[in-house]
């Protein structure tokens, strides 16, 4: 009988070597870095206060909220989904945890314990909201855009109703115990920046070095192929929304001690900033590929823009969201692929 399959060359008959992957300048990878560097130069030139340690830490602390949410958003977008509700969700989690802490203060003596329980509640609530999204999207087969558009309205309306249109404020002694979570620092670096760093590193490891991360990319790249390759598509998608919910919880935990209250304007337009950070960071909106490092840079870039607007008077700070909107459209324009 004829022996084992003889390998037959069928790549190229002309014998040319296969092309090496190009190491040329990849705008998706380096664009955000170049943009950030340019902005830093502009900022330094416009205002001497810009390039100071204090201002740098200030910018990074403010980036932490959006940055942490955008890490979670990055997973959702890579898997081919979207979550429009993160701002409203943060507001409702903030209101909910303040109400809970105020209520616990009467029965639990230690303010630190109350704050600890409040933080735990925030994370669980965020995770729960995220899983609810994931459940409606996977089992309910509703478009993520629609589900989270719905909850965007629901979350904020419930918060407004709980606050009776005003603000929900944290008790004074609790504020004191909670304060260090936002205002404290370690080795000269504020706590929120440490948390942001930790979440970023954890996100990068999760995305690039675990089976879950690979599945997320595989689903975003082609859901059918992933399904046929025995990937539990629904479970992975569910978890991406749960993960994003937890990220929103973490961001809220850091945000609450800053003002010590939640109001109908808490977390307003955070969804714009979080999605913008992911897209500016070079993640494809169609899913399949994305980078945590890019997302972090994207988030920092957006808050540097807002910081520069604050420090200078060239463009009114009221136009901050407009500038961010222009940036995201411009970046998408630069990243578009030729048909």
């Amino acid at each position: 009988m004829p022996s084992a399959p003889t390998p037959v060359t069928d790549v190229r008959q002309d014998g040319a070597a296969p092309r090496k992957p190009s190491r040329r300048f990849d705008p998706r990878r380096f664009g955000p870095v170049v943009g950030l560097v340019l902005l830093l130069i502009v900022g330094t030139a416009l205002n001497p206060d810009f390039a100071t340690w204090d201002n740098l830490m200030n910018v990074l602390t403010r980036t932490a909220f959006i940055g942490i949410i955008s890490i979670g958003m990055c997973f959702v977008i890579i898997s081919g989904g979207i979550d429009l509700s993160v701002g409203s969700m943060a507001a409702l989690i903030a209101g909910g945890m303040i109400l809970l802490m105020n209520a616990l203060a009467a029965s639990v003596a230690s303010p630190v314990a109350v704050v600890g329980l409040g933080m735990l509640f925030a994370l669980l609530l965020g995770g729960g909201f995220g899983l609810a999204h994931g459940y409606l999207i996977t089992r309910g087969r509703i478009e993520p855009f629609i589900v989270t558009l719905g909850t965007l309205g629901i979350f904020r309306a419930v918060l407004t109703w709980l606050a009776d249109g005003g603000a929900i404020t944290l008790d004074n002694d609790l504020s004191e115990a909670y304060g260090p979570v936002y205002y404290g620092s370690l080795l000269g670096i504020p706590v929120p920046v440490w948390v942001f760093l930790a979440v970023s590193v954890a996100g990068a490891v999760l995305l690039n070095r675990t089976a879950f991360g690979r599945y997320v990319q595989a689903i975003g790249s082609n859901e059918q192929v992933a399904r046929f390759a025995a990937v539990d598509v629904d479970r992975v998608k569910l978890l991406t929304y749960g993960l994003l919910g937890v990220c929103v919880g973490i961001a809220t935990v850091l945000y609450v001690p800053r003002l010590g209250s939640a109001s109908p304007t808490t977390g307003l337009l955070w969804e714009l900033e979080a999605i913008a950070a992911v897209i500016v960071g070079g993640t494809s909106f169609k899913g399949g590929e994305g980078r945590i490092a890019g997302t972090v840079i994207g988030a920092v870039l957006l808050s540097v823009i807002s910081n520069i607007l604050n420090l200078t008077s060239i463009i009114s700070v009221y136009l901050n969201a407009a500038v961010q909107g222009c940036v995201i459209i411009a970046v998408a324009f630069l990243q578009r692929r030729r048909p």
Partner: protein, 496 residues
Amino acid sequence: MSLHVAFDGITKEFGPVRVLHGVSFDLHPGRVHGLLGENGAGKSTLMKILAGYHAPTAGTLRIDGEAVTFKSSRDAEKRGIVLIHQELSLADDLTVAQNMFLGHEIKRGWLLDDRAMREQAANALHQVGFERDPDTKVRDLIVAEKQLVEIAKAQLRNARLLIMDEPTASLTPSECDRLFGLIDRLRQDGVTIVYISHKLDEVERITDEVIVMRDGRFVARAPTAETPRQRMATLMVGRDLTDMFPDKHMPALGKPLMAVRGLTVPGWAEDVSFDLHPGEILGFAGLVGAGRTELFEGILGLRPRSAGTIEIEGRPVSLRTPREAMRNGLTYLSEDRKGKGLHVKMGLRDNLTLMTLRHHAQPLLSPASEDRALEHAVASFGIRGNPQGTAASLSGGNQQKLAIAKFLEPDPRVFVLDEPTRGVDVGAKRDIYFLIAKLAAEGRGVIVISSELIELIGLCHRVIVMRGRRVTATVPADRLSEEELIAHAIGTHTRH
């Protein structure tokens, strides 16, 4: 009214892959040409160049002696060249008349002249023997009717050359007869026809001459009357069929490895039962739409099942997802390689290990361990190409080898391959056949779903034929022939 087409050294490359290597031949006016070749021979690509969908990388296309470059299918249509797609290109939500005039609407000033379009459409439809209201939505037509609409649409554009790509793939025998009658009439009207089909009996019946392509090259042309079917098959495959396939070693029939009883996938498969033995290569034959692919998607849990049981190695299993199927030792490689088999934009390594990431997680994924798996697969499956590139950069044959390697990574006991050699050149085909025989020799059960009868006959120990959702026959190796399989597949088989 007829036209003369000449291909002169047509070459076509898609990225690094060259699919046509300087093809030259003529099409004579007013004749029916059977264009033959296996999957991946380049027939469809060449015809798409003729119809203006692709531009050749090199070479010249001449119409009536004049070199032409078509920028779009519209340019080709202006010369009277129309391609009727394998996957019909009608918009489901529009009516028959709206589809027939899509892009060529008749207008009165700024507004559409619906009445004129409807009248002309009805006229053209009548000529091809389609007697339904042109206001019917295309969604409500059966495939055979859609085909008639396509032909009527071509008539409307004054087609002088009609390319039909697998037109009978989903037609019943009587619908086929009607189509052949129509082709005869078109020939008498002087229309040149290129007829692409795998079914050699049809080619024998309606074509004037056959043109054979293989691996992107022109191989031979001959009058149909002087070319027996056996000769056509040998020309297509390019070597003696006995050399193409491994020897068959009949497995010992003991306990079945997999037993399916009374399985029903509503709308697709009814009351299907079969056994698969260790070491057996079991074929599934049938026309497009007979329910073979959908049957196995049902077994995997990707389509709902309403009845039936599945046993693997004597244990009843309830498979609700491909994941559960994999855990029970069954994997399935889809016919749709780019849509369901491989992540074409991802790298070779990520594709290969997707189903078995747990083996490479400790708990973090180890790129070194994944690279070793890829090295091993590249060596043992003979995958040629840049290991750092994406799956899309591989040729069809190598993509298929990678896909087979991927679905073998979980080490399944039962391996189902759906159209395993679609879009694959002859060399890789032979490799795949020998690989399948090797898998069976290792004691696995292999199921091959295929539309290529030559392949089923050359490779399988038994072939199950499906027609209209049901199993109509199980043909043992010693009775396998094209006539037998076709007869069961189209329902003209009579017991002798």
